[in-house]
């Protein structure tokens, strides 16, 4: 993989930060960050996934608005994921910036964000008005299905990161 001078300058700067020093100076930091990142992923997948499954019609008898309260936990989990993710990058920048799996993961994250924005813009008001056994409109189901696909994409690429490390990363 070809190295980019500007990218390397940026990486060199990252390694001078206190955050990078903190991540790399204590052996317990990286495993703790990994554990927190996985906990956050689990909460995000579970809360958003639960709501998506209701919109898709798999969990009936409860209004989507009642289940939507769990999405707050999903937002907190996403923030924890983002913070721990930034800490990973500060500790081993080359592993991420020169990694195709990481680029794909960022793409899936962007798609997840755009998909969520589309949902709140186009479908949220209609979904909130649904009764316990009402079917969601097809357009909302499509967005919920896409949300699950993008979430699986994020997990897949996250897991593949290690196997797409650049050869010059140690």
């Amino acid at each position: 993989m070809e190295r980019w001078p500007l990218m390397d300058l940026f990486i060199d700067w990252i390694y001078t930060t206190r955050l990078s020093w903190f991540v790399n100076s204590f052996p317990w930091v990286w495993p703790t960050l990994e554990s927190l990142h996985f906990c956050a992923l689990t909460v995000l997948a579970g809360t958003v996934g639960l709501f998506d499954l209701r919109v898709l019609g798999l969990v009936k008898g409860i209004t989507p608005s009642a289940l939507h309260t769990t999405v707050r936990w999903g937002v907190i989990a996403f923030i924890v994921s983002a913070i721990t993710g930034v800490m990973f990058i500060s500790g081993a920048s080359e592993q991420y910036f020169y990694n195709d799996a990481f680029r794909l993961k960022v793409m899936f994250l962007a798609l997840m964000g755009a998909n969520a924005a589309l949902f709140y813009w186009r479908e949220f008001a209609r979904i909130q008005a649904l009764g316990p056994r009402d079917e969601a409109p097809s357009s909302a189901k499509f967005i919920a299905a896409a949300s699950l696909v993008f979430l699986v994409g994020v997990m897949l690429c996250g897991r593949m990161l290690t196997f797409f490390r650049p050869p010059f990363f140690h």
Partner: protein
Amino acid sequence: MIELLANVEQTALSVWVRESPSLLAFPFILFLHTLGLAMLAGLNVGIDAWLLGRRKLPPFDLPNLYRVMWLGFGINALSGVVLLAAYPAKALTNWVFFAKLLFITIALWVLQQLKGELAVAGGTAERDVSGRALRLALASLLLWTATIFAGRLLAYTHHILLVSEGL
């Protein structure tokens, strides 16, 4: 015991998972393990979070949700066995692995107990969330957190990676 582990390490499945350059070997099996975690622990945590924020339980259909979670458990169990076959000594000589199994077992028991509490709400009217349901939800959150920490720490706490290398 060590010889048995060494024999397992030399099986075709173990060698393939460990040494194949294919992304369908170790990387994909690891992904399946994460997918199963999201389906089982994720949805369980989703239910816990929802339950802890409520005073009343509406009646809702549980079977489909539990089917998805048990499918997640099936994926996790199968991928877990294959990962164990790849590095049996790494896991079986580390107490953290057994702690993880214990946490999972208790978490699954709690999940079934929670089903009983939620199924009570399967009538036609809303009911109060019981204190037991809240305690189970909280225990479930703690158990899955402990499971995830134990799973991640496995990579950092093992003393032996492969026994067959030293024989």
